[in-house]
Symmetry: C2
Subunit: 331 residues, 2 copies
């Protein structure tokens, strides 16, 4: 294993420290609870949106904290749910008169931590709601889930509820929007290589030289099947054939199309996939009205990509268009 | 080799097509000359900034076209200089009363193509200047260069001359600014793995399981030495010990610090490097006033990173702060 790090046990804290040093005016890092929060949050004028999950999926979620997005992120160690007391402390720190919304990708370990933290916070008199994201169409129940997994589509839920919260919407309305966006968001991913967790030091699973995992999870969980490597055209077909009928997305629909890199795939390849997917959707009568190409939810150094579609209406488009400022900057 | 592509020969055109489909209102793709240009350029009110280079370094440069940055990018095939006639045609297409500035990373193949294109354009009566970027401190002469190589520091030159051009500066002034920024910019990179060009299908060079290349070039060219993998602390020291004395950067200086991923390294590791570099510079009395963490100039799927320092003054800071809109979007 070759990774830029000092101590595998300090991988997450060292990353969080770097993020904080890079954003001294806008973000605050609270080492004792491993959290990154907006320096100007909480505010009683807006619902506090918090997302937690295992680390290793950056920029999700510690780099998507900021105005119009998350009030705080509460990460666990690499591929590990955050401890319930960290979620609880984060919730208390971000408590707002308007309430707190916890966003959770649907994994059993995360659900447990967040459910318990919500209970503990409510016992303190806080108003807390939780929203589970489950956009991955690849498998129904999975290694670490009952039901579907939450993957890169969580970006759209975060963005929409972040915009609603920023505009002063109340908690019920923010929850309604989050549930609505999650209900029209579908994702599927393909791994070309495994990923290597810092503490393990070796790949999490084995893939042959010409082998790929179709429907991979963001922790390397098995998807639908192993297959031989194939041209991008065929891989995009495979993903769209799973995603499009699932909602279903239909001729005449306007969609947001995300091509998300899983960590080790260069952006050149993501744009190749984007061009193919855009045209294949057009051939199905589906219009790509908004596009997202880059890394949004990764799996450490895994080479691979996922495709996400969101069915748009005027309300969702307005929320996705709303300004947001997050810690990941291009320039 | 597992890459998301259809045909290795169409890697670059398929990527450019994807970029164009993702940015239909702001960018124009001209397939016969492999170029991406601003839809609203040329304008006789501003110098047209063009950068060309081999592909495989994305987002440089085809994804950094837009207001406040490049008027056009003129890429060659992967790791190959653009043909001189493509540079010539791009220059003619972007001709402006205020003139054209060609930005070229200092590689012999690129210099030849751009020198000839400049001559041909001038014979047509166009006003064209060329600026060579050579920020890499790793080696003096290199596999493909006489003098130093141009690497990720080219971002700062692009950004500064792009801002100056956007504000209406004349060609002499834009050139002065570009030369000034190049003269105070220094970079060094480290490869943890090789990269695999699509047409070659196998890694460009061999690195052992615990071996790294210190001072690597962005085409995998040898740097200063092979070394065993080391903790991030030691690697940052190695890079800063080469970069800082070179200008030199001194106690009291304000700098921009870029940690650039080479394509296969996740952003989590880049922020670990950032945190370390920020603190080590502070210990030398050097203040990081602006920071850039992400992928700016890559080497296909190479795992690795480079550090760039730019010595700031009020003029350079103002140019780096100026707004710019490019095709790579985070949200």
């Amino acid at each position: 294993m070759k990774k830029f790090m000092n101590d595998p046990q300090q991988f997450v804290p060292d990353m969080l420290k770097g993020i904080a040093l890079a954003n001294p005016e806008t973000l605050r890092y609270v080492p004792e609870f491993n959290l990154i929060q907006r320096a100007d949050s909480p505010s009683d004028n807006r619902v506090s949106i918090i997302q937690g999950s295992g680390s290793g999926h950056e920029p999700a979620h510690v780099m998507t904290v900021g105005p119009g997005m998350l009030a705080a992120a509460c990460p666990g160690d690499v591929f590990a749910a955050p401890p319930m007391d960290y979620v609880y402390e984060t919730t208390k720190l971000l408590a707002s008169d308007k309430g707190v919304l916890l966003l959770v990708n649907n994994y059993t370990g995360d659900r447990m931590a967040f459910d318990m933290a919500q209970e503990m916070s409510e016992a303190d008199g806080l108003t807390v709601r939780t929203l589970f994201i489950d956009d991955d169409v690849s498998v129904q129940d999975s290694t670490y889930t009952v039901g579907r997994r939450g993957v890169a589509g969580n970006f759209f839920v975060m963005k929409a509820v972040g915009a609603a919260a920023e505009s002063g919407a109340d908690l019920d309305e923010v929850v309604r929007i989050g549930e609505k966006v999650n209900s029209v968001t579908r994702t599927m991913g393909i791994a070309l290589t495994a990923c290597t967790p810092p503490s393990k030091g070796s790949p999490l699973f084995e893939l042959g030289d010409d082998e790929i995992e179709i429907g991979v999870g963001i922790h390397g969980e098995p998807g639908r099947r192993r297959a031989p490597m194939a041209p991008a055209d065929a891989l995009v077909d495979e993903m769209l054939d799973a995603i499009v009928p699932d909602l279903p997305f239909e001729s005449g629909d306007r969609v947001a199309l995300m091509v998300n890199g899983l960590g080790g795939t260069p952006i050149s390849e993501l744009y190749i996939l984007y061009g193919i997917a855009h045209e294949k959707l057009a051939a199905r009568g589906i219009t790509v009205a908004r596009n997202y190409v880059g890394e949004y939810c990764t799996s450490l150094d895994m080479a691979g990509a996922s495709i996400t579609l969101v069915k748009l209406d005027d309300e969702i488009e307005r929320l996705l268009e709303a300004p947001a400022e997050i810690a990941v900057r291009v320039f």
